[in-house]
């Protein structure tokens, strides 16, 4: 098994509220995070790809190419944005869990048909104390 991990950072604002719930319920479920003015985080995003090393590039996915994909398809939507306005979260509260799953959908789509590279894992840190992961166990 060989896997390459690249870490990105972005800063974003969000409000955790759902129209499904009343104001009182939103405050009970999301606590401080439901404050209508919003708040923000410095997120860390670790993308792990696995697959054969392409003999032409010597890489699973060349880092410069991965950077371009992530910049265009993920960071352009999330960095210095209010996440509640992003279409990814039209019907989903922009919790770290939902950010993680939206990034996974986007990058799986971006990597499909790009040879043998596969998205193995995504790790999203929302604060120094909270980390969220999906995909293969490390």
């Amino acid at each position: 098994m060989i896997a390459l991990t690249r870490r990105y950072r972005f800063s974003a604002a969000h409000v955790l509220r759902s129209e499904r719930f009343s104001d009182a319920e939103n405050e009970r479920i999301y606590g401080q995070c439901a404050h209508p003015s919003g708040h923000g985080h410095d997120y860390g995003l670790e993308i792990t790809v696995t697959g054969p090393i392409d003999p032409a590039s010597g890489a699973i996915v060349p880092v410069a190419e991965l950077d371009r994909l992530v910049r265009e398809r993920v960071l352009a939507r999330l960095d210095h944005r209010l996440l509640n306005q992003e279409p990814w979260f039209r019907d989903a509260v922009p919790t770290a869990e939902n950010i993680l799953l939206a990034v996974r959908r986007e990058l799986e789509d971006a990597l499909a048909g790009r040879g043998g590279a596969r998205l193995a894992r995504i790790r999203l840190t929302e604060t120094r104390r909270n980390a969220f992961e999906c995909g293969d166990e490390p």
Binding site: M1, G58, A59, I60, V63
Partner: protein, 143 residues
């Protein structure tokens, strides 16, 4: 059922090397067209984390004497790569450039040879934001 007394032990080393993504068969212009800025000479402060695994010896209580692991890493990695140029001073990057994937594969193969089944896996950190994990068998193909 795996032996539940199995323990993993990781030792890290730091070394610095210069490198460029450039293949001897290509011209300067071709290398730069293929590999971009990485085709120019640059360097990294690498960190290599080496994990060995096994059941501790009942007499010594150790999976592997750390002194021995230190000597292996000194001989196999530090002596070959620290303050060296990966392209000019080592024979492994003539057919494939020293990307983190290729470099990690080379290191894994060298350590597999030296440590055998004790080697569990490695993590090569090229900088704060890029790292490669290699583990298992067979070793990924190395040029």
């Amino acid at each position: 059922m795996p032996d539940d007394r199995r323990v993993r032990l990781t030792r890290s080393i730091d070394f610095s090397s210069s490198l460029r993504y450039a293949l001897p068969g290509l011209s300067e212009a071709e290398n730069e067209a293929r590999f971009g800025a990485a085709a120019r000479p640059h360097g990294h402060n690498y960190r290599l984390e080496v994990t060995v695994a096994g059941v501790p010896d009942p007499a010594t209580g150790m999976v592997l004497d750390l002194k021995e692991l230190k000597q292996v890493l000194e001989r196999e990695v530090m002596a070959r790569f620290d303050h060296r140029d990966l392209n000019r001073d080592t024979p492994w990057f003539e057919k494939q450039p020293p990307t983190p994937e290729v470099f990690a594969s080379v290191l894994y193969a060298l350590l597999r040879e030296a440590l055998g089944d004790l080697l569990h896996g490695i993590r090569l950190r090229q900088d704060e934001d890029v790292w490669v994990d290699v583990s298992g068998d067979p070793a990924p193909t190395v040029p």
